[in-house]
């Protein structure tokens, strides 16, 4: 089956669809730089042939194949692949199993052995691996090797845990045994408790005997004291002294008491109040009465003064009436009438004023001339206006005049035409005549109406008009309008005069009423003073005179009543004084003095009486208390049993009293104790009569038994506490849980070993069968291929001398057998390739699948390169297998060509994948056939890193582009030896190194160095990401993709962008300014939109740029695993970041 065309519409990482075709049936060379899609193409082919190798849901691929002369189409949409022949669906061709997909793809590593240093065994192992389809049974077998150390640690842990558990269990079993012993210990405790109870009783019996003996001794001592001792209490001496002191104190107030009684009696006599003290209740009304009398006396004096003033006022009003005498017999006057005198005056004045106004108005309104009536004037004006309306010159006249002229013209023109041209001209003349006739009729009617108006005016006998012209009529009309206005004014005045007349009549009525009122007043006053004002003044004087007389009479009556009150009060007071044995008084002041004196004397009398009563009572009390105290003293002596006053005997007995009492108490105590002891022993009467000695002997025996109690109780408490404590603990539970965990771990180790044993057992069987069944076929096929590849120079044979897989080659020409390590690199690779392809052939199921080689030869030296190319050529030509070789190195094409040309084979033109993908055109291998040779790399020996970099012409470091494009110099400037090795392997950039590793080329440097380089690449990626923060991208393709620009101005914008050296911000700045002719088609909105797109796509980053330290901090987490493995150190990270930061600082 041969591939003819592949179209990748959609795959991860593919933005634009691309197609690759045509393919040769034999050798196909695809050249394309990194990221041009070589690997994508390989994946696409695999995705079609073995769908399970690609799981991405977005895949869309189309491919064309030929198989036995027929064209097959295979399309893949998402996960589904459909095969078609002639447009009809067919089942999938019988291809090898999916897991063999990589058998048809060779990478560098598949054919590379460690720089030729491999031993026979290594090469044989590799051959064996290739013969097994690259499955390494040995490696799996090594994984399944059982380690004798496995489980040792866990076993030790389990053993220790078992010991722990056993220890706890032992301790708990011991405790359980002690617990089992508890009943016996309890019995011992009970026995001791019984001894303890007996011991208490015996001690009581012993104490009883002792108490009885002591009681007898006490009673003998008490019998020697006098019998009066029994009655003494001990405080008799103190009591006696107290009684004496109290007696003396009771007698002490008696003299003072008697003296106070005598003084009170003297004061009572000096108060001279025969009826005893006068109480406040009796005296207060009189004191108030005297006070009231005094106030009346003051009012009498005031009233007398007021009478004198009133008398003066009366005399003054009489004098004021002069020269008119005071009217006689006129009083009483009508006060209501007099009171309204002022109203009368105002009314009379108003009537007078109204009269004056009416007279003035009448004179005014009566002026004016008589003329034509208002109606006549109105008619006249109407007649004149009508006339004027008929005669007025207006637009209508103009029309009439113009029509007249037209009529005339039509007439003349019509006549002329009729006469000289055609008879129809008379029709026009007729129209003109008709028009003139109508106009004449109209004018005549107007004149008749004006004459009628003139006649109507003449009938009104107004001012005659002799000149009936418009100007004259207008003048007359204006004059008539003036006259009409005057007529209207005269009509209004006549109306007002009528109103005045009515008012005048009303006024006359009021004047009559005023005159009548005046006459009535004069009649009352019996005098006519001559005028309204005089009448008013006189009436006022009369009223004042009358009021003065009335006031004087009132005051005199009040004075008389007050004087009567004074007299009556004095009489009452003197009656009271007389009753108290006191002389009369003459006025209020004397009465008040007398009452005050009575009050003082009453108070003194009352106080003396009270003292007398109180002191008399006190005197009686003292006497009584003295008597009672005398009784008490007698009683005291009676209680002692001694004679009254026998103080000497008393004091002697009291001295003996303490001793006597102690003996009594002791006796009582003994009796009490004896009773209690007897009570305790009431159940053991046998102990009642024990002597002290007998009881003591038995107590000692019991005490020896009770002494064991502490130990027994301690033992019980200890066992119980231990049980309780263990019951609360979970140490055994915990230990058992730990043991279970440990056993589980150990079991896991055992299972691991058993798994390994089982797995190894199975693999051994697999190996045996494989060696017996499968290997021989592959070996045969490989030997054939190897012979072809070497042009039958060598044969591959199995080395029977060792147990492990062993191979040898037999040189046909020399008939000498050789070890694999003795072969040249090229021959060895041919051998590996033969084995690999032989296996591929074995797994095929009738359909030959193309072989893809991805950068296999890039790092090969010329001899290897030549060997492989020749072998592939054999494979392609003789085996008729399609081969597709993909490379990033254009010089590979040259070398292919050179090699094949030697064999007389012409290579088909290589397919330039870079050009297909729209990238820079790869330098054509054909074009460089003569110019390019395998690159010579200068050695770094004796050169510093900077000098070596300069020699290599390393481009400047720029993280705006992908890290894959960064020169390895920046990662390995401290290890120029490794750099040299990689450059020799044509790995200049990170991307080329990655391609090398993908193809297995990492073996050209040591594993440690591979790891270190991988770690540094990770670090550089992390650095790059942080470094880009706040900076903008310069990648042109990205810029236009982000901008979405595809208009005709793209070229001009592109040239501007290049002028700006890819600086987006500068580029945008120029766009905003709009001065460049290439940008003038963009509006400000366009530019803003463009900037938004750049920001959105990440080409412009508005975040602040990170400092070196910040970058270091951000770069460490992604490489933490490398740091943990010791591949990278923090110091190294800082140094590398610093270098890169400084390199990119400018």
């Amino acid at each position: 089956m041969e591939l003819r065309k592949v179209t990748v519409r959609q795959m991860p990482g593919v933005k634009e669809p691309f197609s690759v075709q045509p393919y040769s049936s034999h050798l196909n060379l695809l050249v394309g730089p990194n990221e041009s899609g070589k690997t994508t193409l390989l994946r696409a082919v695999r995705a079609i042939l073995w769908p399970g190798t690609e799981s991405d849901e977005s895949i869309s691929i189309e491919s064309q194949w030929t198989e036995v002369g027929e064209t097959l189409m295979a399309t893949r949409e998402k996960a589904k692949v459909i095969w078609r022949r002639d447009g009809k669906k067919i089942s999938r061709p019988l291809l090898p199993d999916e897991r063999f997909a990589r058998c048809f793809t060779l990478g560098l590593g598949d054919l590379l052995l460690d720089n030729g240093s491999s031993t026979d065994a290594d090469i044989a192992a590799e051959i064996y691996r290739q013969m097994s389809g690259r499955y390494d049974l040995t490696a799996i077998g090594e994984q399944l090797t059982v380690s004798s150390k496995n489980g040792q640690t866990e076993r030790k842990i389990v053993r220790d845990l078992r010991k722990t558990v056993a220890g706890i269990q032992r301790a708990q079993r011991q405790l359980a045994r002690e617990e089992d012993r508890l009943p016996a210990v309890y019995a011992e405790r009970d026995r001791v408790h019984a001894s303890q109870a007996e011991l208490d009783l015996l001690k009581t019996a012993r104490d009883l005997a002792k108490e009885r003996q002591h009681l007898r001794q006490v009673r003998a001592a008490l019998a020697e004291f006098p019998k009066e001792m029994e009655q003494l209490q001990g405080h008799e001496k103190r009591d006696l002294e107290a009684l004496k002191t109290d007696y003396a104190q009771f007698r002490s107030p008696l003299p003072d008491c008697e003296k106070a009684i005598q003084e009170a009696r003297t004061v009572i006599q000096s108060c001279r109040l025969p009826h005893g003290p006068i109480g406040d209740g009796e005296l207060s009304p009189w004191v108030e009465r005297a006070g009231s009398l005094q106030r009346v006396e003051i009012k009498v004096e005031e009233k007398r003064g007021e009478v004198t003033v009133a008398q003066g006022a009366l005399a003054g009003s009489v004098e004021h009436l002069a020269p008119e005498p005071a009217p006689q017999g006129l009083i009483p006057l009508d006060r209501e009438v007099l009171g309204d005198l002022e109203g009368f005056l105002r009314e009379a004045e108003a009537v007078r004023q109204e009269r004056i106004r009416i007279d003035t108005d009448r004179n005014y309104w009566q002026e004016g001339q008589k003329g034509k009536s208002k109606a006549t004037l109105e008619w006249g004006m109407e007649a004149l206006r009508n006339w004027r309306a008929r005669k007025a010159y207006s637009t209508g006249h103009k029309v009439i005049r113009n029509l007249s002229w037209l009529g005339v013209i039509a007439l003349i023109l019509g006549v002329d035409l009729g006469w000289f041209a055609h008879w129809s001209g008379f029709v026009l003349a007729g129209v003109g005549i008709g028009m003139l006739g109508v106009i004449c009729l109209y004018e005549r009617n107007r004149d008749l109406a004006a004459q009628q108006c003139q006649r109507q005016y003449g009938k009104l006998r107004l001012k005659p008009i002799f000149d009936w012209s418009l100007e004259s009529v207008d003048s007359y009309l204006k004059e008539l309008e003036e006259q009409w206005k005057e007529a209207v004014e005269l009509e209004r005045r006549a109306t007002l005069l009528d109103e005045l007349k009515a008012r005048e009549e009303s006024l006359a009525q009021k004047e009559l009423q005023v005159d009548e009122k005046r006459a009535s007043l004069c009649l009352q006053l019996q005098v006519d003073p001559g005028g309204d004002l005089q009448l008013f003044l006189y009436a006022n004087r009369i009223l004042k005179w009358e009021e003065a007389g009335e006031k004087l009479a009132g005051l005199k009556a009040q004075l008389s009543r007050l004087e009567e009150m004074v007299r009556e009060s004095l009489e009452d007071l003197n009656t009271f004084f007389k009753r108290q044995g006191e002389p009369d008084v003459q006025d209020a002041a004397a009465a008040r003095g007398r009452l005050e004196d009575l009050k003082v004397r009453s108070a003194r009398l009352e106080n003396a009486t009270r003292i007398l009563e109180r002191e008399s009572v006190r005197h009686d009390e003292v006497k009584s208390r003295i008597k009672r105290q005398e009784e008490r003293i007698r009683s005291f002596w009676n209680k002692t049993g001694l004679q009254v006053g026998d103080q000497g005997a008393l004091y002697q007995y009291l001295d003996w009293l303490d001793e006597y009492r102690n003996l009594v108490n002791e006796g009582n105590h003994c009796e009490q104790n004896i009773r209690e002891y007897e009570k305790k022993l009431n159940t053991r009467e046998d102990l009642f009569e024990l002597t002290f000695k007998e009881a003591g002997s038995r107590v000692r025996i019991c005490e020896q038994s009770v002494a064991k109690l502490g130990a027994v109780m301690g033992e019980i408490g200890g066992i119980q506490a231990s049980i309780r404590q263990v019951g609360k603990q979970d140490s055994l539970e915990q230990a058992l849980a730990d043991l279970s965990d440990g056993e589980q771990l150990l079991e896991e180790r055992r299972q691991e070993n058993l798994h390994k044993v089982a797995g190894r057992f199975l693999l051994e069987r697999v190996r045996a069968r494989h060696d017996k069944q499968s290997c021989p076929k592959v070996l045969r096929c490989a030997a054939e291929l190897f012979a072809k590849f070497t042009h039958h120079k060598y044969n591959l044979i199995v080395d029977e001398r060792s147990d492990s897989p062993g191979f040898r080659v037999f040189e046909v020409f020399s008939q000498i057998g050789k070890g694999l390590s003795e072969l040249s690199d090229g021959t060895r690779i041919q051998l590996l390739l033969a084995v690999r392809l032989a296996f591929a052939g074995q797994i095929e199921r009738g359909i030959k699948v193309p072989i893809f080689l991805d950068d296999v030869l890039t790092t090969s030296d010329p001899s290897r390169f030549q060997a492989i190319v020749e072998s592939l050529n054999v494979l392609a030509v003789e085996q008729e297998r399609q081969i597709v070789y993909l490379t990033a190195n254009p010089s590979d094409a040259v070398r292919w060509n050179q090699t094949l040309m030697k064999k007389g084979v012409k290579l088909e033109a290589p397919i330039d994948l870079g050009q297909i993908r729209g990238m820079a055109k790869t330098t054509s291998p054909i074009e460089t056939v003569t110019g390019l040779a395998v690159r010579e790399v200068p050695s770094p020996e004796g050169r510093s890193a900077d000098k070596y970099g300069a020699l290599l012409q390393v481009p400047s470091l720029d993280f705006r582009i992908s890290v894959t494009s960064v020169h390895l110099f920046y990662l390995l400037r401290d290890d120029l030896g490794t750099l040299y090795a990689l450059l020799k392997a044509s790995a200049e950039t990170v991307g080329q190194w990655q391609a090398l590793v993908d193809g297995g080329g990492h073996r050209i440097i040591s594993e440690h160095k591979v790891e270190r380089l991988l770690a540094r690449i990770d670090l550089m990626k992390a650095f790059s990401q942080s470094w880009r923060i706040g900076r903008h991208q310069q990648n042109k393709a990205s810029v236009w993709a982000a901008a979405g620009i595809s208009d005709p101005h793209l070229e001009s914008l592109n040239s501007l962008f290049e002028e700006m050296k890819g600086d987006i911000r500068r580029f945008l700045s120029v766009l905003r300014e709009g001065r460049d002719s290439r940008t003038q088609h963009l509006t400000a909105v366009d530019v803003e939109e463009l900037e938004n797109r750049f920001v959105k796509s990440g080409l412009i980053d508005k975040r602040p740029i990170l400092s070196e330290d910040e970058i270091v901090m951000a770069a460490i987490p992604p490489v933490e695993s490398w740091v943990a493995q010791g591949v990278l150190s923090i110091e190294e990270i800082s140094r590398l970041v610093h270098d890169w930061y400084m390199q990119t600082a400018h």
Binding site: G151, R159, L762
Partner: protein, 437 residues
């Protein structure tokens, strides 16, 4: 009047659940809080609160006889509290507590052993001095009893009007040494039901069947999934009864099925697992009363071709810090069931004659139990026994290497080797190729 009787199976006081996370106490849950002792304490509290008539236990109350002091502490305190509250305790002896329960009976008279000495015995349970049910029980007289207790003659019940139940500790397997009483024979005995101890997976006791295992109060290892707790038997005056299981255990084990599609391509698998735990919690919530921790054994489900990819990324060690809490209940991952053998199409692989193909053929023979497999198993047994005889494993119980055991070992090891082999060349399994994205 309705009476309640509380029934509980294998409590195993003195034992702790296995496979708890070692750092669980750092997440606020002490391992002590998840023990059967805690379950027993909760049972006692529940019985007192509900004033049940009696508590009936079906053996294996205490983990081991020699563990009597610690386990006794819990048992004794619980029984005393029950007795002080007027609740009597009845139990049969299991194979684990032959001596221990007799000891308890001697110390606490209110703790009744039924069928002591391996003789069937009837007892009558009362509530407030009224008899409510009869129990027929049989206790282990010693640890190993290879004979069925049903071989003995059963005594007549004291009162035939009351509901009658049997309690027994046995294993329904003919060659068992744990009093093998076939359950089909129990059905022939005229009782209303049999409550049995020994197996830790509770039966579905209910209206359909009243013969079955009660199960422990707490799942003692991750295989003991689902609801665990005592059973409440309710009996009314007419002798009608019903039974239901209640959740009292502090720990619950669950198998957590997780769809591989959900995990595939996710950068943080923990988020997906956390979501799955949250869903599990939501589903279980009505049954989680009193539960403090839920241990999850993740089981990958879904398309088999995705299993390997996901299983390789799902490392149990990475999930140790995945301990979310939902409604104060702690969830943790106990392990992962990686049944990625599902992802291998043995028949397709076996078509080739390369090493994977040859290995796949052997596995197919084992899976299909072909005649060739017998010879394979025989040879493998010899190799395995040799390894198992190593002194390194002297601390462990001896393995019998039955045919099934050897077959399973070979299958596990064979599938593992096959995956490793395939992984050597398949792009998705090459660990030496780094991603350059």
């Amino acid at each position: 009047m309705q009476s309640q009787v509380l029934l509980a199976g294998d409590i195993h006081l003195g034992k702790r659940p296995l496979h708890l996370p070692r750092d669980i106490d750092q997440y606020g849950v002490s391992p002590v809080e998840l023990t059967p002792a805690e379950g027993w304490l909760r049972l006692v509290r529940f019985a007192v609160e509900q004033s049940v008539a009696a508590v009936v236990l079906t053996g294996d109350v205490v983990e081991e006889d020699h563990h009597r002091l610690e386990a006794f502490g819990h048992l004794q305190r619980g029984v005393l509290e029950l007795v002080q509250n007027g609740i009597e305790v009845y139990s049969v002896v299991g194979n684990h507590d032959v001596e221990a329960l007799e000891e308890v009976t001697q110390r606490i008279p209110a703790f009744h052993l039924v069928g002591q000495g391996g003789k069937w015995e009837w007892v009558t349970l009362s509530h407030q001095s009224e008899p409510i049910m009869n129990i027929l029980g049989w206790s282990f007289p010693k640890q190993g009893i290879p004979l069925s207790p049903l071989e003995q003659e059963l005594p007549l019940p004291p009162d035939e009007k009351l509901p009658r139940f049997g309690i027994l500790h046995d294993l329904d397997t003919p060659d068992s040494v744990y009093a093998p009483a076939p359950h089909r024979r129990l059905e022939d005995i005229e009782l209303d039901g049999w409550f049995i101890g020994h197996k830790h997976k509770p039966s579905q006791l209910g209206s359909d069947s009243l013969i079955g295992y009660l199960g422990p109060l707490v799942g003692l290892d991750p295989s003991e999934t689902g609801l665990h707790g005592p059973w409440v038997l309710e009996i009314d005056d007419l002798g009608q009864f019903s039974i239901k299981q209640i959740s009292l255990g502090p720990l619950r084990w669950e198998e957590l099925p997780v769809a591989v599609e959900k995990l595939r391509g996710k950068s943080d698998l923990k988020d997906v697992l956390r979501d799955s735990m949250a869903s599990l919690h939501k589903r279980l919530l009505p049954q989680l009363k009193g539960v403090k921790a839920v241990g999850c054994r993740i089981k990958l489900v879904g398309p088999r071709e995705l299993h390997r990819e996901v299983a390789q990324r799902l490392n149990p060690l990475d999930l140790e810090d995945l301990k979310p809490r939902f409604d104060e209940i702690l969830y943790f991952v106990e392990g992962i069931i990686d049944d990625s053998r599902l992802s291998l199409d043995l028949e397709r692989i076996a078509q080739a004659s390369d090493p994977p193909g040859l290995l796949a053929r052997q596995l197919l023979a084992l899976v299909n139990q072909e005649e060739d497999a017998r010879q394979l198993i025989g040879e493998a047994r010899h190799r395995l026994k040799k390894e198992a005889a190593s002194s390194a494993w002297s601390q462990l119980e001896e393995i019998q290497f039955t045919e099934d055991q050897v077959r399973e070992l070979l299958l596990q090891a064979g599938f593992h080797a096959l995956k490793e082999l395939l992984g050597q060349i398949e792009p998705g399994n090459r660990e030496d190729v780094r991603s350059w994205n």
